[in-house]
């Protein structure tokens, strides 16, 4: 009897040992590592949060998806019909969608959501909506106060992703922190601060947008986002197969990953734009000709090659080149032109002195302060710009600071030049940074110009259609470029390192890399 029991126990133990790896192998887990600041802040209430996390795109569905081709695709909103005056939007909603808590997505949820959005920091996204009427269980009508062609963009942003109405009302303030309920292809499982965030597959998901082949459920069972601040560690984790995806690979590791046959680099169009702002109220930068001289002395190609090793492209305008309003014509672009730079300085009365530094008629030297964030790409950009400006006869003195200190400095208005970047895929960023009502920060250029404000208001609020909006923003953008408020210089690609286990689809239509397109990914 005793012998039999021992034998049974041994058999069970053997079964466990053999079966356990089979079970573990069956689960497909994708590990992605990134700098916590890039991955974002782990609060997941789209209505109330100011800062978003990458995972928001997988936990929640958006009303509209924005494709890599620049077109908008149906998502939770399955169809739309906009009146000629742009004031009435009839929206057909996708049927059969349920949130992770089992509650349905319908017209009532959309009406509640658009109203609730008015209570949060992203209220401006629904600022044009006057009323919302339910026209059927799965259809609503939005009546707008003024035409808002940018509504498509707003609806495609994670800040306008739709949470479960039932869960939102039930949990109140803790929604998005302790309880996270969306309708996306992945559900929130756990979060360990500074360590990792775990998402698990939503097995009921079957409403993937047209951007993806696989409508759901996802092929990968679990996604683990690992907070790894040190870029060398991220690279080594990828190299040793401990992670499958590395966010924002630094320039110095790109060639190393490309050399490794087991790894690959995926480049996506960049969403950042590096530029140097000029304080237009700080003499002599209040002189447009001086600003022109400085802007045209910045050699974009040289910075792209020497600082960023060609991991992106030179920037000649104030907007990402993927945006239609960036197409301003070559004559309006700000391109390195030493001859024109010299001419502008001379015309402004700044002649080259005996020491190579320009001087005005009173003998004042052209010495300016140049602020930069204390991070390698900003510091190195500032150093190269400093050398380029020296060639043009400008003595730029670099000061390095952390981002919070720089913003405090901007508010005082004592700065002159500053190397910075922004990440935003909409032409309305010009309004954010150059609206005269936001002097100091975010308008660090201290730009106050009535014509500019007029063009900005026209572009922001008086465009009836998408085409009209693009035309208005192009005019506004062209005006700003010719006032030389910034010197643009670099637009980096977004570079990801991908391990050998990840099987990517041949054609990727999603705009972001680890976004809704993950439905088509697999793990070997």
């Amino acid at each position: 009897m005793r012998k039999t029991i021992i034998q049974v126990c041994m058999m069970l133990l053997a079964a466990c040992i053999f079966l356990a790896p089979v079970q573990a192998a069956a689960e497909k887990v994708l590990y992605a590592a990134g700098d916590p600041n890039e991955l974002g802040v782990t609060t997941f209430n789209p209505i109330k949060v100011e800062l978003s996390h990458e995972a928001m795109n997988l936990i929640y569905d958006k009303l509209i998806e924005w494709g890599a081709d620049g077109n908008f695709y149906p998502a939770l909103i399955a169809s739309w019909d906009i009146s000629d005056d742009g004031l009435t939007w009839d929206l057909g909603l996708r049927q059969g969608v349920t949130f992770h808590d089992g509650s349905p997505f319908d017209a009532e949820v959309v009406k509640w959501f658009l109203k609730e959005m008015e209570t949060g920091p992203s209220a401006y996204m629904v600022g044009s909506i006057d009323t919302v009427e339910i026209t059927g269980p799965y259809s609503v009508r939005m009546n707008l106060k003024y035409p808002e062609p940018n509504m498509f963009f707003n609806m495609s942003q994670p800040f306008m992703a739709v949470p479960s109405m039932a869960a939102y009302k039930k949990y109140g303030d803790t929604f998005g922190i302790k309880q996270i309920v969306g309708s996306g292809p992945y559900k929130f499982e756990s979060w360990s601060p500074g360590n990792e965030l775990v998402l698990v597959k939503n097995p009921d998901y079957s409403w993937g947008p047209d951007l993806v082949q696989n409508k759901g459920p996802a092929l990968i069972d679990k996604i683990v986002y690992k907070d790894t601040k040190e870029e060398s560690t991220r690279f080594l984790e990828l190299k040793t197969g401990k992670v499958d995806v590395v966010f924002s690979v630094p320039t110095m590791f790109i060639s190393k990953i490309e050399e490794d046959p087991a790894l690959k680099i995926v480049r996506m169009p960049g969403t950042d734009l590096f530029h140097m702002i000029m304080n237009t109220q700080s003499p002599p930068l209040d002189n447009e000709l001086v600003r022109k001289g400085i802007a045209l002395a910045v050699n974009q190609e040289s910075i792209t090659k020497n600082v960023f090793a060609g991991a992106g492209k030179p920037a000649y305008t104030y907007l990402l080149d993927t945006l239609p309003a960036s197409r301003v014509g070559k004559e309006n672009e700000i391109r390195f032109d030493p001859k024109a730079s010299r001419a502008a300085f001379e015309e402004a009365g700044w002649k080259t002195g005996p020491d190579g530094i320009r001087q005005d008629k009173d003998g004042n030297k052209l010495v300016l302060t140049l602020l930069a964030k204390n991070e390698s790409s900003y510091r190195r950009s500032a150093e190269v710009i400093q050398a380029q400006l020296a060639e043009a006869g400008v003595d730029a003195k670099i000061t390095l600071m952390d981002p919070s200190s720089i913003r405090a400095h901007y508010k005082k208005g004592e700065h002159q030049l500053a190397v910075r970047s922004y990440e935003w895929e909409n032409a309305d960023i010009l309004e954010w940074f150059l609206n005269s009502k936001r002097m100091g920060y975010p308008n660090a250029a201290m730009w106050h110009d009535n014509e500019s404000d007029y063009l900005m208001h026209k572009a922001m609020t008086r465009s009836r259609t998408q085409e009209e909006r693009v035309a208005n923003f192009t005019t506004y953008h062209t005006y700003l470029l010719n006032r030389y408020v910034w010197a643009p210089f670099y637009q980096p690609d977004t570079v990801f390192g991908v391990g050998s286990r990840v099987v990517l689809p041949e054609k990727r239509m999603a705009r972001k890399f680890m976004n809704i397109g993950i439905l088509d990914w697999d793990i070997q």
Partner: protein, 308 residues
């Protein structure tokens, strides 16, 4: 003895208040504020104002300090302005990672450092002594950040024996603990050596030799015991240091410890997070010093008698 312990404990109360004032003032003197980090394109001035009022940033600094202190006594360290979670919850999460790394590293420092120190002192001016001191110097001077990356390269990438990073398993603790521990070991080895040589030259040791006591017994029972007193002081001081001073190692090995929490909070100017973590770290150092004093008194009757 107890009188000494109680007196030292009571002394910690004013130290706590002074520390809280210094920590609060320092972070508010530094330029920048957390709200700027939350405001993005499209957000209105009204929303910015709402956030400022919500976190009492519109109130004078003494009022803000009083609110923080009052909540502190209720066990509430505030809510992270960026992460929107209670600071106590964040500290509860991060502290074990720092404690496990810190205590393992201290144990490693002690064992390695004292062993090297004894070896070095016992074989003074021989190649063993020189070698041990070179290793100790290497441990003290080499930047932890660099050492961590080299250890990862050797043990995780080339030999594939240990994980590159992580924090969930005991195995993942080995490389960070060695990285932190080596620095401390170097310091302790040098102090142990110097202290042992100093004690060895004392009259009572000469007397013990004259009495015919064995060399080993003199070294371990008499010289080492007396020589360990400064080592204990250093260990006590390092308890607080290893909790927050290992930030570079935490970053290299992606360990979510207190140092990393503090640095992230600092860059975001997340006042409640910075104040909470700095206070905990500072109190760790105070507590470490207190423990060192108590141990000092325990091991050295002269100190105890002096206080009595």
């Amino acid at each position: 003895m107890w009188q000494f312990v109680i007196r030292r404990l009571l002394l910690m109360i004013p130290i706590f208040f002074v520390l809280s004032v210094i920590i609060f003032s320092l972070i508010h003197i530094v330029p920048g504020n957390p709200i700027d980090n939350l405001i993005g394109p499209g957000m209105t001035k009204a929303h910015e104002q709402k956030l400022i009022e919500k976190y009492h940033l519109d109130k004078p600094l003494p009022v803000q300090y009083a609110i923080w202190l009052a909540n502190l006594f209720k066990g509430d360290l505030g809510t992270s302005i960026i992460e929107k979670r209670p600071v106590t919850e964040l500290l509860r999460h991060h502290l074990p990672y720092s404690l496990s790394l810190g205590l393992t590293a201290i144990a490693l420092s002690f064992v390695l450092g004292v062993s090297m120190g004894i070896l070095s002192a016992a074989a003074k001016d021989t190649w063993i002594d020189h070698m041990a001191m070179v290793v100790a110097l290497f441990g003290v001077t080499i930047p932890a950040f660099w050492l961590g990356l080299i250890l990862i390269l050797i043990f995780a990438v080339w030999l594939n024996l240990l994980p590159v990073s992580g924090s969930g398993t005991l195995v993942s603790l080995i490389l960070p603990a060695v990285t932190v521990g080596l620095g401390g070991a170097g310091l302790i080895a040098r102090i142990t050596r110097v202290s042992m040589l100093e004690v060895a030259s004392k009259d009572f040791i000469v007397m013990l030799h004259a009495k015919g006591l064995g060399k080993k017994a003199i070294l371990l029972k008499h010289i080492l015991r007396n020589a360990l007193i400064p080592v204990i002081t250093i260990l006590g001081l390092r308890i607080g240091w290893v909790l927050g001073g290992t930030v570079t190692v935490e970053i290299v090995f992606a360990r979510p410890g207190l140092g990393q929490m503090l640095i992230t909070g600092l860059f975001r100017r997340d006042y409640p997070v910075i104040q909470g973590s700095m206070l905990l770290l500072a109190m760790g150092i105070v507590l470490g010093t207190f423990l060192a004093d108590v141990l000092y008194a325990f091991t050295d009757p002269r100190v105890r008698d002096q206080h009595q």
